[in-house]
């Protein structure tokens, strides 16, 4: 069994950082599997917004979201983060206008991202949502993380402090 830090040292996870503004501090943490960071590096730069005429490219959306999350900005329930059903699996999605990030909360304000994809693809491809949810459960099961591995139950206040 290992801590999040030890899993980062071993390369199983990486910690996501963003440059913060002068008046911001680190209040929440995001860790990620390599699958997520590979998507950010290799796929995200080439995708386009699915929203007609929207100024913000998906990479700007993700940067702004990560800045909000890590700096502890208030996050609207369902609009910025949402519990996936069934609730007892403890899988959540983080949301921007065009992107969905899947994963779970190890404890309040500490998220582990397993994968990300475009909202449009998730809408268009039947079963993709369930696939990411089930994959997140499998990745969590196989991760050698100290228990408790995730926040059980589905209360929004239990996973994000606002």
């Amino acid at each position: 069994m290992a801590t999040l830090q030890e899993l980062c040292v071993s390369g199983d996870l990486v910690r996501i950082d963003v440059p913060l503004d002068a008046d911001q501090n680190v209040e929440r943490l995001i860790f990620a599997f390599p699958k997520f960071t590979e998507w950010v590096q290799n796929v995200l730069p080439d995708i386009q917004t699915s929203i007609l005429g929207l100024e913000e490219h998906p990479d700007q959306q993700l940067d702004a979201f990560l800045n909000d999350f890590i700096s502890g900005e208030a996050l609207s329930r369902r609009q910025r983060f949402r519990r996936l059903s069934p609730a007892d699996r403890g899988i959540w999605e983080l949301k921007t206008a065009d992107i969905r990030i899947f994963g779970w909360f190890v404890r309040r304000d500490v998220f582990v991202a397993t994968a990300a994809d475009e909202k449009k693809r998730l809408r268009d491809i039947n079963g993709l949502y369930g696939g990411y949810r089930d994959e997140a459960v499998r990745m969590r099961d196989s991760l050698d993380l100290d228990p408790p591995k995730y926040v059980e139950g589905g209360d929004y206040d239990d996973v994000v402090s606002n």
Binding site: L4, Q5, C8, V9, G11, V14, R15, I16, D17, V18, P19, L20, D21, A22, D23, Q24, N25, V26, E27, R28, L29, A32, T37, V40, Q41, L44, P45, I51, G53, L54, E55, E56, H57, D59, Q60, Q61, L62, D63, A64, L66, N67, D68, G72, E73, S76, Q79, T96, A97, R107, R108, D109, V110
Partner: protein, 132 residues
Amino acid sequence: MTSFQIDIDPRKRKRGRFINKVRKELQKAVAETLEQQGATQADLARLLGVNRSVLSRRLNGSANLTLSSIADLAWALDRDLNFSLSQPDYENHDRHNQVLGSPIDIKSDDVAEPQVSREGGSRFQSYHVAVG
């Protein structure tokens, strides 16, 4: 500890975060005003003369904000608008080497250096702006 940062052009980052910041200010002002007045987003949309879905998309990031739409919202909410451009506070940027209020124990050397652009003065040397 290894860490990862999204690779985004500083200019794009500045633009994206500015739009996000404006949108959050609007969301906050709308929520406060509607709660104080016992009104709904539909009431606000009617006052603005737009469809409720248009207002909702502007606020949730699914539609662009224009300066006019921001000013209209400020009018409808009876709020003053303030806009300023300030010099960066580099001294305060440097304190991000310290992690304050972190929910888990992290060594300070685990935190990546903030990407602070210090090229402000020179940026203008290679650009010419024509006016008039």
